[in-house]
Symmetry: C3
Subunit: 160 residues, 3 copies
């Protein structure tokens, strides 16, 4: 029996363009270095997993589903965003450097089978169903207990 692989367990909370780049680069690199990598998407971080706007059954739900970006290409910077201009220029800079956007890193993470967990509490609060999230074999829905069970066994835990 081979020794157990080390694990890294990242909470992707902010859903910011720059912080998401960090979270995905860490998980993708770790997966390539022999780690089992987990990303727990919660709160604004769920934006990365959304594939469609979905229905809303209440005005408050509609509001937050409108405010939360759909997918990895609509994120803003954590600072110097200037109403989206900062994110636009950062994405242009990423293109200029021929490096990866958040959307591309998300794809690359999936190719390396990084485990994605969507936070059940956030889904319920915002009224997002699992159908409104991307299709990915290693995407599951989990709660805080799920996170704690993974994180306590992991070598590295980060809240991003």
């Amino acid at each position: 029996m081979s020794p157990k692989k080390p694990a890294i367990c990242i909470i992707c909370f902010s859903g910011d363009l720059d912080k998401s780049l960090s979270a995905l680069a860490l998980a993708w690199t770790a997966a390539g270095e022999g780690f089992t990598a987990y990303i727990f998407f919660t709160f604004w971080g769920l934006a990365l997993l959304r594939k469609e706007r979905g229905q809303a059954r209440h005005p408050l739900e509609r509001l937050f589903k409108l405010l939360l970006p759909v997918g990895p290409d609509k994120l803003g910077l954590s600072k110097m965003n200037f109403g989206g201009l900062g994110a636009l220029f950062m994405n242009k800079l990423i293109r200029l450097r021929q490096t990866e956007t958040v959307g591309e890193l998300l794809q690359m993470a999936m190719e390396r089978q990084v485990k994605f967990i969507a936070c059940q509490g956030t889904l319920e609060m915002l009224g997002i169903s699992k159908d409104e999230l991307i299709d990915y074999a290693h995407l599951s829905v989990g709660d805080v207990t799920t996170f704690l069970q993974l994180a306590r066994e992991a070598k590295i835990q980060l809240f991003i």
Copy 2:
């Protein structure tokens, strides 16, 4: 002799409504799962422990004691706050879902005896005395060394 309980050690720095929900949900759940849970409240995070505005002996002290919210019900969102409107709508959404506000989670964490540590350096910097903080048997004042001693033995450490 029973084996030592695992520990989780969270730095609550931001004092944002949304991030505080995460920090408290993690600590409260962990305490229910057999962890010893610690939250180290520093900088803006100290807002959650304040019960009164207190006196100020200097205009700068007065300014920061005025800017820092008093208690868990006055926090703003880390983004989309729109001068407090975002927080207002988030709290309405929390009510609609019949889930817990930050203030309720704070109470629940105390019922599970989550250990609270107020950062001594922040208290001194802002001129807040321990009397201005909530009364709770498991609240103590500690410094960075206190945190490091707890964190190095903990299974999980997060900066939120």
Copy 3:
């Protein structure tokens, strides 16, 4: 042979005045308590290591090199910054309390030989060369793999 020293591994991402105070206070204290302390400066956090503005070969590069502060004395607060006023008042409060500014804590961390790692990916993206960073014997350039190797052996890892 003496037992290996415990390590703490901090990602300094935000480059905010308040969060940088936390990151440096943690690393400096840990180094004094017998830890090997590492700070991995990435994204906005690289501001702390810059000693000069440097040249830019492209308008986008010029923009981000202009937006990113040069050195630890130009940082803003993560909230309540009000266009720099908040940072100004916080630095005045630090003076009033006779405690340390970010610049002073950075010096103190270097006196305790905290290991600094500048993120290679960020340097390349922003077009910053190592010559534009402070001179310090324990400053090296590293990538995500470098971080993972250090972090997996560390007792404490934090993303700040």
